[in-house]
Subunit: 199 residues, 2 copies
């Protein structure tokens, strides 16, 4: 049995999108258990001294990133439209993701949220949208939304974000395999190979 891959991600992060659309299938094929670790990127960036996404703070890199995204999405066969708003607020869907992290519907839920942001160019921090995307995945979307907005769950997401910081995570997506940190969608395969190399 290989050690699990922890997948630290944020719905507002563009490279998290590429990794999220691929990880469940790739981890399954590799025989590596997948542990979903939603966390908030905003507080991490602010602690590192950024008020905005580094892709917005640095113009040249920002312009490049959208070309890179389009090329990588095409390479993977993933739909992609440059969003008219970036980074999109994702607090509510992130709270739902924390609640769903060990549920069977997690992967499909996350892909639906991501596609809405990165392919349909629509807001995701929106109760109606989240309810609609939960439909068919959970028995009672309204109850899930209510639980996601409970104080315990809000606090749990803050704690998970603090844990990311403690682990040295400085961006998303990040992958952790038995303490070894990998950063960026383009290190997903390396992280899985590392997990496969361990008993």
């Amino acid at each position: 049995m290989h050690p699990p891959i922890e997948f630290w991600f944020e719905f507002g992060s563009n490279y998290s999108y590429l990794a999220l659309m691929r990880i469940e299938a790739l981890a399954g094929r590799a025989g590596v258990p997948l542990v979903w670790k939603p966390f908030l990127l905003g507080p991490i960036f602010r602690e590192l001294g950024w008020q905005d996404s580094p892709f917005n703070e640095q113009r040249e890199k920002g312009e490049y990133v959208w070309r890179d995204m389009a090329r990588r999405a095409a390479k993977y066969g993933i739909p992609f439209t440059r969003p008219s708003s970036f980074p999109r607020r994702a607090l509510l869907p992130m709270r739902v993701a924390l609640l769903g992290a060990d549920q069977r519907w997690m992967g499909e839920y996350c892909r639906r949220i991501m596609l809405r942001n990165w392919s349909q160019d629509a807001e995701i921090d929106d109760p109606d949208a989240v309810l609609a995307l939960l439909a068919g995945l959970v028995d009672d979307p309204v109850a899930v939304l209510r639980a996601a907005q409970g104080e315990d769950n809000k606090e749990a997401l803050r704690a998970q974000t603090a844990e990311a910081r403690r682990l040295g995570i400085f961006g998303a997506p990040s992958f952790i395999v038995r303490g070894e940190l990998f950063w960026g969608d383009d290190r997903l395969e390396d992280a899985l190979e590392y997990a496969q190399s361990l008993a």
Copy 2:
């Protein structure tokens, strides 16, 4: 005939090291002509508002980068020792590289300089070291060094650096294939595939 891949690099840049050790063989195998484009990263970073390597300016990312480097080098089978000084000054060997960009000895010269920095942990902005590494590659190392330090060549390296900036280059290594910019060692294969897709 495929369009060429332009390889924009700096001896002081760690990810340039990984790309430089691989690119001549990979481009040759892909049937893509290789154009060497040495440029100075320092002036680019300063124009972007950094006084030092971003890997030094941001502690978390900096710590991560050395683990990533060690893993990637092992994956490629390239020797790597974290240098005791980073980033190393590289002005003199860069000037020689500009002079050698269209010479047969360019690839081997660059690999020798890079190995000295990234495997032997030794200074490279050093006339004696550059002379020693040129031995056996050029007929008259002293004459090459003298030409490299001539005013024309110094000015040409400044001009090449300004051209990098004009092209939107913000880091190294960068690859340009018919106007399309790819950034980072981990995009080398994508850049070559792109060149191969063009007639």
